[in-house]
């Protein structure tokens, strides 16, 4: 039971949020029942509820007890329906939240249903609906009254339906009201949204039925997963969270549903993650295959190969979920930023960088897909071979690396190793007859890359270093153990894993690196790297240490099993965008690796 009060500045800790979503967009709901983030109609659309990035004028949907309260929260088992239970001195009530799934049936194009169920006594719940279109730039024009209100701006419209309200009224550009719920009574409200089409309204019973149908879908979906092993609960929650981050119309997966949650409170490292990164392709493919979600793998793989076509054999770093590679970065000066962390950015200029690691990620994803028994078309096979050819021609270039540093391009060791991964997997694919065979050329270049890394990027103390010119540890080099650079018994690999742990770990948490990256300020420990360390320890024969670390990391999730991008080792506060796909992908892959290493004799 937690007693949590929103800070005086109006912001809640990132850790306090839970996510609900429908495969097109997602809402973040605080422990106090306030929906503080919702972009409509899609993940990368402008926010309508954006209190997360501006407590004053971002927009919100509050559903919070009037009296002081204590709160517990959970997702229903195997489901993405969130249940928040409030206890006050006069009674208790449970709020069930879900973004409903309609399939092809007529209903609101996007819908968030919130059911309030009285459990004991009587609870008064305050309702505040304050939509702010276009990232808080536009106060809404609200029409209606009684139990239904409509806010609109240009081609966008949002409706609020309230059932069981004692009173609701429009006041200063927002709807305010109060629900009074006694034991055994049920009140409800729903937010419906439309873009460039009429709103579709629904009745109370229909909305509540859809909430239960949505719950059934999630339970059935999670039951389809095939993973059975240690940390099952964390793995299933990660799978459900990852599914929420999949943009269903295309199969792409966003890195996170939020923008500009800071890597340092008050700092400038605030980025927009509502896009799909090619870097994550191999981890996504691996995790979905290991969890048994083959339909999602198919959709993701088709999206990946179709989307990258526009630039192939050169690959973009990130793409919009609809496939558009144009993701220009701009700042939103009207928003004050999470706890004064400015600027708030939308778009991401990392798109213009050269990142050689993405080639290894993509070709490793192709290899995993083929190795799992999926066929690739002749066009895809030709494209994969051309990408390998491009790597042969370009691996010697300096790049921005996996961490998207904004300092001058450097010969990052992990980038070179990922080029080796690209060519090694291309050779393996050619051996299988899956892609055109130019393996003699690819193998020669792969050997040159390996020589480069072994001769110029190894240090007896640290293992493989960040770059030949940067003799320091870099947690991304843990991926060498994960992507079969050499066997787990290789002393150089073991030295690298130990070096990263010695140099970059703060307790169970691991920093990405400690050197310069061309940006001002500091950041928290990077959760993905912590899970990579678990994976690397498991693969280098340290099962016990890996399991111990995994236990610690699993205990660091928030109350509903979610992770952000980073964590402050001193305070335990979540930092960065939330929830973060890469953190959950790394958790799944680490758990499966551990399960495999446990079963090895």
């Amino acid at each position: 039971m937690m007693l949590r009060v929103r800070e005086a500045d109006g912001y809640a800790p990132i850790r306090d949020y839970a996510i609900v979503g429908d495969g097109r967009t997602a809402a973040l709901i605080g422990l106090d029942g306030s929906v503080d983030w919702l972009c409509l109609p899609d993940f990368d659309s402008p926010s309508v509820l954006g209190r997360l990035l501006d407590a004053g004028k971002g927009g919100r949907l509050e559903l919070t007890p009037v009296e002081p309260f204590q709160v517990t929260r959970r997702y229903r088992s195997g489901s993405n329906v969130l249940e928040t239970t409030f206890e006050t001195t006069s009674g208790s009530a449970r709020v069930s939240d879900a973004m409903t799934l309609l399939g092809t049936r007529l209903g609101p194009a996007r819908e968030l249903v919130r059911r309030v169920e009285g459990l004991s006594g009587t609870v008064r719940v305050r309702v505040v609906f304050e939509p702010r279109f276009d990232y808080g730039r536009r106060a809404a024009r609200i029409a209606g009254g009684g139990s239904r209100f409509v806010a609109s701006h240009r081609a966008d419209a949002v409706s609020l339906s309230v059932w069981g309200a004692a009173r609701t009224e429009v006041e200063n550009g927002r709807v305010v009201g109060e629900l009074v719920v006694a034991a055994g009574e049920t009140a409800a409200l729903s937010i419906g949204a439309a873009h460039a089409e009429p709103l579709v309204f629904s009745g109370r019973d229909e909305a509540l039925d859809r909430l239960e149908e949505t719950d059934r879908f999630w339970r059935e979906w999670s039951a389809r997963g095939t993973y059975e092993g240690p940390w099952q609960k964390a793995v299933v929650r990660s799978a459900l969270t990852l599914k929420l981050l999949v943009y269903a119309p295309s199969g792409a997966i966003v890195a996170a549903p939020t923008s500009s949650l800071p890597e340092e409170i008050g700092g400038t490292r605030n980025w927009d993650y509502r896009y799909a990164w090619v870097r994550d392709a191999c981890w996504t493919t691996a995790a979905l295959l290991r969890l048994g979600y083959h339909d999602e793998v198919d959709a993701f793989f088709w999206w990946l190969m179709h989307t990258t076509r526009l630039t192939q054999p050169r690959l973009g770093v990130l793409y919009r979920v609809n496939g558009d590679p144009n993701v220009s970065e701009v700042t939103l000066d009207q928003l004050s930023g999470y706890r004064a962390s400015k600027p708030v950015r939308i778009g991401n200029d990392a798109r213009n960088q050269l990142q050689l690691d993405v080639y290894g990620s993509l070709l490793h994803a192709v290899w995993l897909y083929v190795d799992a028994g999926h066929a690739v078309s002749r066009d895809t096979a030709k494209e994969a071979a051309k990408i390998a050819d491009w790597v042969v021609e370009n691996w010697q270039r300096a790049d921005a690396g996996i961490w998207e540093t904004r300092s001058p391009p450097t010969h990052y060791t992990q980038s070179k190793a990922m080029c080796w991964v690209a060519l090694d997997r291309a050779c393996a694919l050619a051996d299988r007859g899956a892609i055109p065979d130019r393996s003699a050329r690819w193998r020669t270049a792969a050997n040159e890359i390996r020589s480069f890394v072994e001769e110029r990027a190894f240090d007896e103390e640290l293992g493989y270093v960040r770059a030949p010119a940067l003799r320091e540890s870099d947690a991304s080099l843990l991926t060498l153990a994960l992507l079969d650079w050499s066997s787990g018994a290789d002393p150089r690999l073991i030295t690298t894993v130990d070096g990263v742990r010695r140099q970059l770990a703060r307790g169970p948490l691991v920093d990405r690196y400690r050197g310069q990256d061309g940006l001002e300020g500091d950041e928290g420990a990077f959760l993905t790297c912590s899970f990579w360390l678990v994976d690397a320890l498991a693969r280098t024969g340290r099962h016990g240490e890996a399991a111990e670390l995994m236990d610690e990391l699993v205990s660091l999730a928030n109350d509903v099993g979610l992770y952000s991008e980073e964590l402050d080792p001193a305070s335990g506060a979540f930092l960065g965008n939330f929830p973060q796909a890469l953190s959950h992908l790394a958790l799944v892959n680490a758990a499966v690796s551990l399960a495999a290493s446990e079963s090895r004799p």
């Binding site: 399939g103 873009h195 526009l310 192939q312 609809n322 496939g323």
Partner: protein, 159 residues
């Protein structure tokens, strides 16, 4: 004005339209892939989809040339310029409605704006004016259809 001329124009125009789009794909201007989009309505096998898709596209090209012939007949006018104008309208209709709205609604493997987490379509929806497949797709599509209309108009008018 001859019906056979319009049909012959439809055939040649479709060849030109297909070639224009394919060329644009090869030089990295668009991800628009007409045979793939049409063929995957029938099969998940990409190679087979390409074959079927080209077939369907050519049938469509011939059917549309008959529609053009009907317009020529009704207005009593035919010629390359009128055909080009019809091609422009045809291109806008194709990008704005036909491929943007109707194809996703009929296509069993294509996402739509209302596809939610309960489905896993294999093909991303094209978006308005097919812009999801690259910003220049609209230009390629319009150019191809104007060329198609020009040829159908010219052939129908007996060159």
């Amino acid at each position: 004005m001859t019906l056979w001329g319009a049909l012959a124009g439809g055939l040649v125009g479709t060849v030109l339209l297909s070639t224009t789009v394919r060329l644009a794909q090869e030089i990295g201007v668009t991800r628009m892939d007409i045979p793939l989009l049409l063929g995957t309505a029938f099969t998940e096998n990409r190679s087979r989809a390409n074959l079927i898709g080209y077939g369907v596209h050519f049938v469509n090209g011939l059917v549309f040339s008959l529609v053009y012939a009907g317009v020529f007949e009704a207005t009593g006018r035919a010629g390359w310029l009128f055909g080009a104008g019809l091609g422009l309208v045809h291109g806008l209709f194709a990008g704005g409605v036909l491929v943007n709205v109707l194809l996703p609604a009929l296509h069993p493997r294509m996402g739509t704006s209302w596809t939610d987490a309960s489905a896993t379509p294999l093909l991303e929806p094209p978006g308005f004016l097919l812009l999801n497949y690259g910003r220049h797709t609209v230009l390629v599509t319009l150019l191809g259809h104007v060329a198609y209309g020009t040829i159908v108009g010219a052939f129908a008018a007996g060159l």
